[in-house]
């Protein structure tokens, strides 16, 4: 990290000079240094972009910045060396995939694309000085900054629950150790036990996520704990792909799943962590395993950097540049991106749009006006897939849905259709993760 520190200082000094001094002994930086001297694409030379957050949004943005202009010096800051994705993590809970298949690293990003990948935690963003401080003391100067910090939780909204309790009652809504914990708890649950899941109020990451989780845990129980009960205490009165999920639940899991909407008292107001008791207007339930997904807000970093208004980050929806701090772009779950849902697919899509907008701006090219998409597959059972899709475009500065396009899978489709979409769900995962982490 000291090396980077020195390099950052060199670059900071040499901001305006055309030929950046190359510290050729620095492994991992050599290709970048060479590229910044090639002048094949002068506008991008010496431009330093720091991307914070190695999820679907940040990693995609870092890769596509390089794809659109290899001369831009891109640094990705992500504390984790490997990244378990939320998409696919419900399949893992069911035992339909393994942890390795949904865990990715950053070697392709550095080796193929020449992105400097720094595994450190950010301690401060100084928007005025255009620098990012890392916990090891490194200071990274930037010309433009992209932040893709995902979500954080409003634990305080549920009485009796706090961040310290997540090792007993997991949210499992940031994949990794939390996913492993829920995986273990499900498997250790007594026969005929009660699993309570409490999905959050809108807006939140991956709208169908909690309901795919219900499905996948039901799939596990059906095979391994057939008398188990799943109670969904919901903060909402309706949810994404609701009719399709419920059609699938009826077909595959009979009366194992009970969904209590807010209107029937489903909102969880309090938990007793020690006794695993959940309080709602509907009833007080002594559960065996609880998956509490708290209300959400932008990632902590977004708040620390002063990029939020309310719970989320306002942006120029054409470029993803913050409307609060010029030169800082916010993508993914933290951003207010019009009608786009908070999803990995949206974030990756936004990473590309943001990269293209930034590169076009740097080169004084016309801003592209592309169509943008979200595709979201959910598995209701191993061979039972459903989807929702939408196409987006900018209307009067707001990302809106293209009318006539998009929508959910048909109701009442035959087994072959559901099976095909379950295959496509897996194909989607393979392709999107290859696009972001492996190519």
């Amino acid at each position: 990290m000291k090396k980077l520190n020195r390099r950052a200082v060199i670059k900071a000094v040499a901001v305006s000079s055309v030929a950046v001094p190359v510290a050729s002994s620095l492994t991992g930086c050599v290709t970048d240094g060479v590229k910044s001297q090639t002048e094949a694409n002068p506008a991008g030379s010496n431009i330093r972009v720091v991307v914070i957050g190695g999820g679907f949004g940040g990693t995609s943005c870092a890769k596509y910045l390089k794809r659109f202009d290899g001369n831009i010096e891109v640094t990705l800051v992500e504390p984790k060396k490997t990244y378990m994705t939320c998409p696919g993590s419900n399949w893992y809970l069911a035992g339909l995939t393994d942890a390795k298949s949904i865990t990715h690293d950053y070697t392709s990003l550095s080796d193929i694309h020449g992105v400097n990948v720094v595994h450190q935690r950010v301690s401060n963003i100084d928007a005025a000085a255009k620098s990012v401080s890392l916990e090891d003391g490194t200071i990274l100067g930037y010309d433009r900054l992209v932040v893709s910090p995902g979500i954080d939780f409003k634990y305080e909204m549920i009485e009796g629950y706090s961040e310290a309790d997540v090792d007993k009652i997991p949210h499992a809504y940031q994949a990794g150790p939390q996913t492993e914990l829920l995986y273990k708890q499900i498997r250790e649950m007594k026969q005929g036990g009660t699993f309570v899941i409490a999905p959050p109020p809108n807006p939140f990451r991956c709208p169908p996520g909690p309901y795919e989780r219900v499905s996948m845990i039901a799939d596990y129980f059906k095979k391994n704990n057939p008398t188990a009960k799943i109670i969904v205490l919901d903060s909402k009165n309706k949810f994404s792909k609701q009719k399709l999920f419920q059609e699938g639940w009826d077909a595959l899991y009979g009366d194992m799943i009970e969904w209590i909407p807010a209107i029937d008292g489903g909102v969880v107001t309090k938990v007793d962590v020690a006794t695993k008791t959940v309080y709602s207007e509907y009833e007080t339930i002594k559960a065996d395993v609880i998956n509490l997904i708290p209300p959400q807000k932008a990632g902590k970093l977004a708040f620390d950097a002063g990029l939020t208004k309310g719970d989320w980050c306002p942006i120029n929806q054409e470029t993803f540049e913050s409307t609060i701090h010029r030169g800082i772009y916010v993508i993914g779950d933290s951003s207010i991106a019009g009608k786009m849902p908070k999803s990995g697919h949206s974030a990756a899509s936004q990473g590309k749009m943001c990269a293209a907008a930034m590169v076009s701006d740097i080169h004084n090219w016309a801003q592209p006006r592309p169509k943008n998409v979200n595709t979201c597959y959910s598995l209701v059972g191993s061979d039972y897939g459903i989807s929702v899709a939408a196409v987006y475009e900018l209307h009067d500065g707001v990302i809106g849905k293209v009318k006539g396009a998009g929508g959910v899978s048909p109701m009442g489709a035959d087994d072959a259709f559901r099976k095909m979409e379950s295959n496509y769900a897996r194909g989607w995962y393979k392709s999107i993760t290859a696009d972001i982490w492996h190519s």
Binding site: T31, A390, S431, I432
Partner: protein
């Protein structure tokens, strides 16, 4: 100096993607990058279950996408997607994908 430049070019060949962009990023190219998320990066096959699109014959893709859009050709999710694109956009997308190496 020349020698140095040559070295730089060799370095750049290893480091840069083999695609070059001279006049900016077209709407078709940028929209196509969103297709990559299901159909494989740069339209290439990566072992999934969704057909790769790199090098897809342009006229075949145009015909198929228009048929999917009208409903004449059955699909699962593709009709929901392609209804969001004009015929001109479909033609541009097909042209772009046909230019990619499989």
């Amino acid at each position: 100096m020349k020698k140095f430049q040559k070295l730089i070019i060799v370095g750049a060949m290893f480091a840069l993607p083999s695609v070059s962009y001279s006049v900016g990023i077209s709407n078709a190219e940028l929209s196509a990058t969103t297709c990559f998320m299901c159909h494989g990066p740069e339209g290439k096959y990566v072992g999934g279950t969704i057909p790769p699109l790199a090098g897809y014959p342009e006229s075949v893709m145009v015909t198929q996408l228009k048929a999917i859009k009208s409903g004449a050709r059955k699909s699962t999710v593709m009709q929901r997607h392609i209804k969001g694109y004009s015929d001109a956009e479909i033609e541009e997308l097909a042209k772009y994908f046909s230019s990619l190496k499989p």
